[in-house]
Symmetry: C2
Subunit: 530 residues, 2 copies
């Protein structure tokens, strides 16, 4: 395509593409993410000598040499990128980004921009849904690296799940590169690597205050185990001594960070008493254990049972911190199971989610597309029998209209040359997906959603609408949280959300009809859409 | 975990992990891929000074300095990697890879090895299924970059779909880095960027033989269009002149590679006659057009109609090549729709697949796990109430047993110290997932599936079992094709495959029972599994 534009002398024609999705992810709202990556890509966009040599070898031999010379001069210096702020809630068919520049260059950007926005937005939206399903109080840990599309897919997942509302990741590189807070877990293999209490030295731990001799923690824990078994009424001989050895060995290494997986053998008859014994021993030495992790079975029910045991221990041992130990769970958690757990009686504090989060099982791809809306300042259309697949022509602005309670009620697309909506005045909005049905809306506030994030001509300014440089991950995360918070509960609903209205102005509606050739008035007029 | 192993003096204990999946992808066979990436990773595995500084900041302040010093010395020089050949058909629960080495090091490798094998094997298996659904003759083009998990997820997809049986990719970087053959497509935006025949110069094309003056191809095509419309009986005024301009402009740029998308306006009333007119004009100048692409509607039915038109043109114009033009299709193709298309009457030569291929919609993750099977030469087990989740202890060999027709019939796991199966002799095999039900099998051939692919001690030899260096992508692709070809039709079946049998030897079965503690004879013996 690029060669043909160049060969036809059209490569510099001013053009505009829009990036949008036709259907909202998971049937609800979308969270727009990936903008920062797009800006960083534009900043560096050019072909290396090596790239051009490769293209020469891959393209037909009839390709003129001048084209490759032109390619070697191409960069994004003619490109202007308008965009929603990263982390905004977005809806179907509105332009998330508008990309203006020379036809050939903005066409070349298509696949990369789509690739950078599609997965980031999809997985971030998915994370936001898990957050809504879990409620605000539970800590959410992303742990999907092993199931992502390779190491870099996993890195994107960790970054954008954090932005979408997760608290922590098990992906250490995401901590190093992006500052995402880290959480590790102990695997079953750690526990099962111990075959007997003799497996390990040293087992001595010095008291937390640093005063006094080191104490043999295995010995101390073994003594407390007897007492624990009596208190929680489980037979002592059902506890695995090799599991106790593993717990003690870990506690000696991490006396301030003792959180153990309980289901290598049996949660109730071995994992729980062994944990309580070691936690009791740590307390004796002035340390505070952190908690436990469950990785199988009925997580909510087990958490309730374990909390009861912790409370009983707290009371019987006179150690109040026992009641507050963290109960973490994992095990193939989906949005549905997360929602179910949250609705049930449960005592879960931390949830680790991997596979279903990063692969977005419910909908593993976001169908963002990149469509031409204008060339040489003439609006373009791609007609389709499917109304949803017909593009909305011309350069446009998007206004988010709010009701008097501060909830967004409708996103209105207007021609870029139209005046903004007047607050407090009735507006005619033609709803998309409804054969242009008119809605009358009186906005209490109208927000212009696009700002320039990259303006290549002359110099690259990469500023958001507040005049600052690209926002930090933390700022994007905060913006995402607020964007979701101000949605009305009906639009935020996970299971049966009320469809959010996206509409076009009267003027844009007429242009659309005219270019589509279905306006009775305009049928005989020349169509100047390209 | 690593710190605790080190702190307990166990970090150098010889250990062995196995990498396997518990359930076969898509309910059928798996294709094992990603081995080369794992070997490359092992070769480079070490912590940079920067990594160690970061870990110091991320780990508890009580972590001893000596640990970080130790980490700075860690590499894969103590690691031995046994593996199936890359591209082999594999089944649930058998070790695809066995990783032997110091406990701490082989534990650290877990997530990366899983990440490298999981997606590569999943997407490669998916590609192989598309190939089976499509049959051997159609060209398959992978075009999923925009829907993958970021640029690198997309690159893995392109690489492993090629290995799994695709012919081409639209991902240019995969061509550059891995030599995957490339195929481009023309987007609708190319066509819709033309608003009138005046949009373009030059429209002249010189004859293929290079003799004679340049001819105005738009003029020539417009003249042929009249004739074409008569022959194929469509009204001339239903053809879009802006589409013809786009086709001509592309043909002038790529006279030897003219393949156009037909559905920007209307396939039958505009796309087809415009294409035929330009193809006729190209032929006049000694060029051969390539074909057309359909991106919407009933692809099989349209392909049949279009082939009829091509044949009619071939006959009426006396140009035989018209009958053989390529008909390429795309539009959200799934394995199911691919299978349906192949079974219907169709004239499709090329199929482009994106979203469902790279995201593996049917099953977006492969659940490979990495489990400890041995420490200090003592077999380990992780017990679970779910029999499938109980690990199979100890270091083992896998033998693939074949019948007298050369089809694999059963994969047999044996202790690493057991003798290989004797050909022609009845073997007792305990089938997995059947409470150890015994099958008697007489193998006509037994193939040992694991070889050493990385042996770090001393020097890295990265040789396959033939003594060669790591096989090329092309060799892996050939091996994958052969592995699938020799499967019996029942095991290769996509919809209702017969489950392939995976079994353990009598000796391994007894070890499993003993460590699981369910053998009546061994219940009172000491369990020496770790």
């Amino acid at each position: 395509m690029g060669y043909s534009y160049w060969r036809g002398g059209r490569h510099l024609d001013p053009a505009e593409f829009e990036l949008f999705f036709r259907e909202a992810p998971f049937g609800g709202f979308g969270l727009f993410l990936g903008l920062g990556d797009c800006v960083r890509f534009l900043r560096e966009f050019r072909f290396s000598t090596e790239d051009i040599e490769f293209l020469k070898s891959a393209m037909p031999s009839s390709t003129e040499e001048g084209f490759f010379h032109y390619l070697s001069t191409v960069d994004a210096s003619g490109v202007t990128l308008w965009s929603f702020p990263e982390g905004s809630v977005v809806f179907a068919r509105e332009p998330l980004m508008k990309v203006q520049g020379p036809l050939l260059v903005v066409q070349l950007l298509e696949t990369t921009l789509l690739c950078l926005v599609n997965y980031a937005s999809l997985v971030g939206t998915n994370a936001a849904r898990y957050r809504l399903a879990a409620g605000p109080d539970k800590k959410l840990v992303e742990m999907g690296l092993r199931r992502a599309q390779g190491p870099d897919g996993g890195l994107s997942a960790s970054k954008y799940c954090y932005v979408g509302g997760f608290d922590l990741t098990s992906n250490v590189l995401a901590g190093k590169l992006f500052g995402v807070p880290l959480a590790g877990t102990v695997a079953h293999s750690y526990v099962s690597s111990f075959s007997s209490p003799d497996d390990v030295t040293p087992m001595t731990l010095t008291p937390a205050k640093g005063q006094g001799e080191g104490v043999d923690l295995l010995d101390l824990s073994t003594r407390y185990l007897k007492e624990v078994c009596e208190v929680i009424e489980v037979p002592r001989d059902g506890t695995k001594s090799e599991e106790l050895a593993a717990f003690v060995s870990y506690a000696v290494s991490f006396p301030h960070n003792f959180l153990m997986v309980l289901d290598t053998y049996n949660v109730m008859s071995s994992g729980v008493p062994n944990f309580c014994a070691v936690a009791r021993a740590l307390h004796h030495l002035g340390y505070r254990a952190v908690g436990v992790r469950l990785d199988s079975g009925d997580l909510a029910r087990q958490s309730v049972e374990i909390r009861k045991i912790f409370k009983k221990c707290a009371e019987r041992f006179g150690i109040p911190i026992f009641k507050d130990f963290t109960i973490a769970v994992s095990n193939n958690i989906s949005e549905t199971s997360m929602g179910r757990i949250s609705k049930e009686n449960n005592e879960i504090n931390v949830v680790g989610v991997g596979t279903h989060l990063v692969t977005c099982t419910q909908q593993p791809s976001l169908g963002c597309v990149y469509k031409l809306v204008q060339v040489n300042h003439i609006p373009c259309i791609k007609v389709s029998e499917d109304e949803e697949k017909t593009t909305i022509p011309g350069s446009k602005s998007v206004y988010r209209l709010y009701d008097n309670e501060g909830h967004p009620i409708l996103d209105l697309m207007a021609g870029a040359d139209e005046l903004p909506p007047v607050i407090g005045t009735e507006l005619q909005c033609h709803k998309l997906g409804s054969n242009g049905e008119v809605e009358l809306v009186v906005p209490y506030k109208a927000e212009l959603m696009h700002s320039i994030y990259f303006e290549g001509r002359g110099l690259s300014v990469m500023q958001d609408h507040c005049g600052e440089t690209l926002p930090s991950l933390q700022k994007i995360r905060d913006h995402a949280r607020r964007s979701i918070e101000i949605l009305s509960p009906e639009h935020r609903n996970l299971e049966k959300p009320e469809p959010y209205r996206v509409a076009v102005t009267e003027k844009l509606h007429k242009l659309l009809l005219r270019l589509r050739g279905t306006s009775p008035l305009d049928r005989d007029l020349p169509r100047n859409g390209c």
